[in-house]
């Protein structure tokens, strides 16, 4: 087993463990922290897939901004009451999720998977190549995305503002 594979398995098992830690704890802050950790490990996985720019963006945007926003809101609301857990509902939901997982996996193995990665240019996944795509072929979606963010800002302010 090569070093790459070992690295992959370590990262994969860490991400799965922390993903599970997102949905199980009763404490919302623990969930959020677990998600932040998952995001961080997924970012490292991005690095192994030659996507350094997106790995950094993942840390910067997801872990650094979105998750902080979550924590911020959790602290602001400080929800006290803990939810009840009905066994039947949990079992049903978990079974459905497992079924989904099995179906997805069998879908992936429906056809043989390509083994090994094709060689890519050194700059693949770097800021230049990403920017090249974004500002040429995807210029319009890029602009629309900026409008979307603006709309989200205004929407959030309008929603969260106290009346009167």
């Amino acid at each position: 087993m090569s070093g790459d594979m070992i690295l992959f398995f370590i990262l994969a098992s860490l991400s799965v463990i922390f993903s599970l830690l997102v949905i199980f704890p009763r404490n919302v802050v623990h969930s959020a922290m677990a998600l932040a950790a998952t995001l961080f490990f997924v970012a490292v996985l991005f690095l192994t897939l030659d996507a350094p720019m997106l790995a950094i963006l993942q840390v910067l945007v997801y872990a650094g901004a979105i998750m902080i926003l979550f924590l911020f809101v959790i602290m602001l609301l400080n929800p006290a009451a803990l939810e009840g857990r009905r066994i039947a509902w949990w079992t049903l939901g978990s079974l459905a999720a497992v079924a989904l997982l099995l179906e997805l996996v069998s879908l992936f193995f429906y056809r043989p998977s390509p083994s090994g990665q094709p060689p890519v240019a050194a700059a693949f996944g770097g800021p230049e190549t990403l920017a090249q795509s974004l500002f040429t072929d995807f210029a319009l979606p890029f602009e629309i995305a900026s409008v979307l963010l603006l709309v989200a800002i205004i929407g959030a302010v309008a929603l969260a503002k106290r009346e009167g």
Binding site: M5, L100, L101
Partner: protein
């Protein structure tokens, strides 16, 4: 190098965990967190395919998914705040006005 399917299976696992979280947890914030989890699983798939196809499109899509996720989180949290202000609760079962 790990084969493509490994990454796909990993993202399927994370996605399924996210789905389970959305369905079983009775807490808006955790539901939102689980949605982020699902989005991330999909991002991982995109990036893996981008790597194996040697094309930047997958990464570009992930960029846009991040944008959308940011917008979604912001608006979702704003909705949660305003709901919490009215109901003092984060339980989705308390919000059942839209029925019948």
């Amino acid at each position: 190098m790990a084969p493509l399917n490994y990454y796909l299976v990993l993202s399927a696992i994370i996605f399924a965990i996210g789905v389970a979280g959305v369905v079983i947890r009775r807490n808006f914030i955790v539901i939102l967190l689980s949605i982020e989890l699902m989005l991330n699983a999909v991002n991982l798939t995109f990036i893996a395919f981008a790597r194996y196809l040697g094309s930047m499109e997958g990464q570009v899509i992930v960029f846009f998914v991040m944008t959308v996720a940011a917008a979604e989180a912001v608006v979702g949290l704003a909705i949660i705040i305003s709901i919490f202000r009215h109901r003092r609760s984060l339980d989705p079962r308390e919000m059942q006005l839209l029925k019948w």
